[in-house]
């Protein structure tokens, strides 16, 4: 259980952040300069707040009123930095064991071998950090933080410096870490797919303040003033179940109350629940069931709202059968010519390619 309620003023920037979490992975989401990383630094004890409290499992780490400030080396809070920050003079093995040295032996809950196996870094142990690739470095950094037996793991955009392929390689590892080691994680990111895939709770920050807290499904589809100028960032999160794989075409068929969803790639055994992310720009709207079309995924629902201003674009929110909401980015002209209105029965067309495996949520 982590409770954060802190304030800090630095030159013209003012931070006032409050949230709490009972476990799982909390994502701090927002654009750069919104105070996400600063919040992590406050929790890690690398920065001292002007006022407020931070409590971890009932233990106060910071309480400005009571004059408490626990130094970072006594917090038992692991930190994974964006650029790994491995010790260049130590081998990978010694980097991993660094925190082990300082953690009380009786409280060691995490096993070295299982961390190494989970992260797939056996073959790197005797190497030096200087000649690891970016992805390898990040894996070692995650392992190093885990092996210090933290009560809380902080991750500051651990994938931001990696290319797409590396990201797809590390994302499932973070999921495994989240699920296998039961360490609560606070994860900072400005990448929608990562947040939707990993988070059980999302805290959206803007200009140093919390603008929304909730599950990814609730929070990411809402329109936030924070993202007014980047409408393409809006997305929907749907929950579906794996029906089966089509090995011929390398696709996975998912069942959703509103229809079938075709996912490129293989996404695990039948019956598994998945979360998929659909970018608003990848959704088209039709008023009759379309035929002779390359799009395979067609979901049924009714228009819940239409948002349009003077600009060329409009946002149509569709209430799907089963309750999920899907957001479609269209043109204002399309809304007008189809005369879309609240309550209209519509078909949402989702390009298969938009639903790749990285958007899925593994359990």
């Amino acid at each position: 259980m982590i409770v954060v309620d802190v304030g800090l003023k630095f030159r013209s920037f003012e931070l006032a952040v409050a949230f709490s979490s009972g476990g799982g992975l909390v994502a701090l989401f927002g654009r750069s300069g919104s105070g996400k990383s600063l919040t992590l630094n406050l929790i890690a004890g690398l920065v001292r707040p002007d006022r407020g409290r931070i409590c971890l499992n009932g233990r106060p780490l910071v309480d400005t009123q009571a004059g408490i400030f626990v130094k970072s080396h006594r917090r038992r809070v692991g930190f994974v930095f964006q650029d790994a920050q491995l010790f260049p003079h130590l081998s990978v093995r010694h980097n991993l064991m660094f925190g082990r040295w300082f953690s009380p032996p009786r409280e060691r809950a995490i096993e070295v071998d299982s961390v190494i196996a989970t992260l797939g870094i056996e073959h790197l142990l005797d190497r030096s950090p200087g000649n690891l690739s970016g992805g390898e470095r990040q894996r070692v950094a995650i392992g190093r933080a885990l092996l210090s037996d933290p009560k809380l793991l902080l991750m500051d955009e651990p994938l931001a410096a990696l290319d797409l392929e590396r990201k797809l390689e590390i994302l499932p590892l973070i999921e495994n870490v989240r699920d296998a080691f039961k360490v609560p994680i606070i994860y900072v990111s400005h990448a929608l797919e990562e947040v939707a895939r990993l988070a059980s709770q999302v805290v959206i920050l803007d200009a140093g303040h919390v603008v929304a807290i909730g599950s990814p499904g609730e929070v990411l589809s809402r329109r936030h003033t924070a993202f007014d100028d980047q409408r393409f960032e809006r997305a929907s999160v749907l929950t579906a179940r794996v029906e089966g794989a089509n090995n011929n075409y390398g696709l996975t068929e998912l069942v959703h109350p509103a229809g079938r969803i075709w996912l490129s790639g293989l996404a695990g055994p039948p019956g598994r629940e998945l979360r998929v992310v659909v970018n608003a720009a990848d959704v088209a709207v039709a008023t009759v069931r379309p035929d002779h079309l390359s799009v395979r995924t067609v979901l049924r629902g009714s228009v819940a709202s239409v948002e349009a201003d003077k600009g060329p674009l409009a946002t149509v929110t569709i209430g799907l059968l089963g309750g999920d909401q899907l957001i479609a980015l269209t043109t204002r002209m399309a809304v007008h010519e189809l005369s879309l209105q609240r309550g209209d029965q519509v078909f949402a067309l989702i390009k298969t390619v938009a639903l790749d495996e990285r958007a899925g949520h593994r359990r």
């Binding site: 690398l46 970072s72 080396h73 930095f81 010790f87 925190g99 040295w101 300082f102 210090s148």
Partner: protein, 241 residues
């Protein structure tokens, strides 16, 4: 039998010249070894800590670099001479005497080499990424451990350079030493002082030349040693596989 030219050179040294070489090596080594931990501490304080009087400390450390060496030697004499207050106190209570002893020569040359050493170490500590230290902290390491296992090893090349610079400076130190502890053969007469003495007497040129060769070879050895050490430490950090 063929003798190597170096062996011939060493054999041809007079006993007094040989003693001067020994005194020089002893004085410079002791000066370097004793001032190294103090230098690392001072460099750390200047690079990483904020405290009252930091600028003053920085100035005092660097003073021997800009003062005429004779002045530094004279200041030491006024402080630590046998009749000076501090010198008398140390002699009476601890039996530590610097004046006209080789220990005084080591002190004078250490003081002269200290600013060079601190500068080199400070630069290398400044170059250590503080986020690495922060990372070590989040892994549970006390600041003292962070210094010992992260900062110090990463600053090692600079520390070696600082030690070599101090050693070289101590080896060549003349003005402060001769002012503070005079020029006593077998006690405070270093290579430099011996060469100076030899140039003042008739037929001393040959001895002065021999000592000059010795001096050059010691300096070259020190430089080569530092180069090898530096290559070795940088290989420790970035081994080629």
């Amino acid at each position: 039998m063929q003798t190597s030219p170096w062996l011939a050179l060493v054999i041809s040294l007079s006993p007094e010249e040989l003693t001067a070489v020994g005194v020089s090596l002893k004085v410079a080594s002791v000066a370097t070894v004793v001032s190294l931990p103090i230098g690392v501490f001072a460099a750390l304080a200047l690079a990483r800590w904020r405290f009252f009087g930091k600028t003053l400390l920085d100035g005092v450390i660097h003073l021997p670099l800009v003062l005429p060496p004779v002045v530094t030697g004279y200041v030491l004499l006024m402080l630590l001479g046998r009749r000076a207050p501090l010198g008398a106190f140390l002699a009476d209570n601890f039996g530590i005497v610097f004046a006209f002893r080789w220990t005084g020569a080591a002190l004078a040359s250490g003081v002269m080499g200290f600013p060079l050493m601190v500068r080199a170490i400070r630069l290398s500590i400044d170059a250590v990424d503080r986020r690495l230290e922060a990372a070590a902290g989040t892994l549970g390491a006390h600041p003292l451990w962070v210094f010992l296992v992260v900062t110090l090893p990463l600053a090692l090349p600079g520390i070696l350079v600082g030690a070599i610079l101090c050693f070289a400076k101590a080896l060549g130190e003349f003005g402060a030493t001769i002012t503070f502890v005079s020029n006593i053969p077998g006690q405070t007469q270093t290579i430099s002082a011996a060469i100076y003495t030899l140039t003042q007497v008739p037929n001393g040129e040959v001895g002065a030349f021999r000592l000059t060769l010795i001096s050059v070879s010691i300096a070259l050895t020190a430089l080569i040693a530092s180069e090898i050490l530096q290559r070795w430490t940088s290989r420790q950090f970035h081994p080629i596989e």
